[in-house]
């Protein structure tokens, strides 16, 4: 059963990833990305990571993919997208580099000799009274990793402020726009 779930999800992950890079329409790419992300969430569930799987669905498969789709529809790029043909050697070179990188990583994985050494220094994954390991994870997050937690909070604030500043229509100040709107409203009412 475990093997069946793994191979079905692995096939879905790889098919989705190939669909992302092959699809001509960015909307199709985003939907293939969704397939990959949901399949990875299933693989997390299989590895005693229920909370991570839930976060994967909520943050990645919902928020990030919806953000992608929102930007795609906002820009309307599928109409304007040119047929992207780079240098003919570029695609071949990229695939060769990819195969080389894959074989390098597989050599590293070979034999899986890194899964050794000290075990469970910060808390074991699952036990009978905490099968979803929410409690263990929260304890580790708010004790061992509390500084990293605070710094990521700062990072999120910076990212939100930065994206708002970047995405605001530059060249038009909001005060000027609102003043124009008010004058237009006045004219409309007159």
């Amino acid at each position: 059963m475990e093997a069946v779930v793994f191979f079905v999800c692995a096939a879905a992950v790889i098919a989705g990833a190939l669909g992302v890079i092959v699809g001509r329409n960015p909307v199709h790419s985003a939907l293939f990305l969704l397939l990959t992300l949901v399949s990875i969430a299933v693989l997390y569930l299989q590895q005693h990571a229920a909370l991570v799987a839930a976060i994967q669905i909520v943050v990645y498969a919902s928020a990030i993919v919806v953000l992608f789709l929102f930007v795609i529809t906002l820009l309307g790029v599928d109409k304007r997208e040119v047929h992207d043909d780079g240098h003919p050697l570029q695609r071949v070179a990229a695939i060769v580099v990819g195969v080389l990188a894959l074989s390098g990583i597989l050599v590293l994985v070979h034999g899986n000799r890194w899964v050794t050494g000290l075990h469970s220094t910060r808390g074991v994954l699952g036990n009978a009274d905490d099968p979803g390991n929410v409690k263990t994870l929260a304890t580790s997050l708010f004790t061992d990793f509390v500084w990293a937690f605070e710094i990521t909070a700062v990072l999120l604030v910076i990212a939100v402020v930065g994206s708002v500043v970047l995405a605001r229509r530059s060249g038009h100040r909001p005060q000027v726009e609102s003043a124009e709107d008010e004058s237009q409203d006045e004219r409309m009412s007159v």
Binding site: T36, A49, V77, G86, Q90, N112, S120, L156, A159
Partner: protein
């Protein structure tokens, strides 16, 4: 040697090989595609491969730290997507295009 016959138990090696393949597909896509939105999706694929590796090692070592680090990766990925898409929108306003070939100058 990595046994690829039909297994009765899925070990961490299978997940690691899957993560390696996923990472490679993302890297090749990043090199091949010109559409910046699709390039961003390829970066997400590579981040997910790294997350899958973390969760696999957490499971293999029976240690919670790997799963905690996945949380931080998710937060950084969300921040990256928010800022990156804002940059893409700003570029699109200026150039009317999201192709990476149109933004090969540092000049605005």
């Amino acid at each position: 040697m990595i046994a690829l016959s039909y297994p009765d138990h899925i070990t961490a090696t299978y997940y690691l090989i899957l993560a390696a393949i996923l990472f490679t597909i993302g890297a090749v896509g990043l090199l091949v595609r010109k559409n910046t939105l699709v390039m961003f999706m390829c970066i997400e694929l590579m981040l997910n491969a790294a997350n899958l590796t973390f969760v696999s090692y957490a499971n293999a070592m029976n240690d919670i730290s790997g799963q905690v680090i996945v949380f931080f990766t998710l937060v950084v990925a969300a921040a990256e997507v928010a800022v990156g898409l804002a940059i893409i929108i700003a570029i699109f306003r200026r150039r009317q295009s999201v192709s990476a070939d149109d933004v090969d100058l540092l000049k605005g």
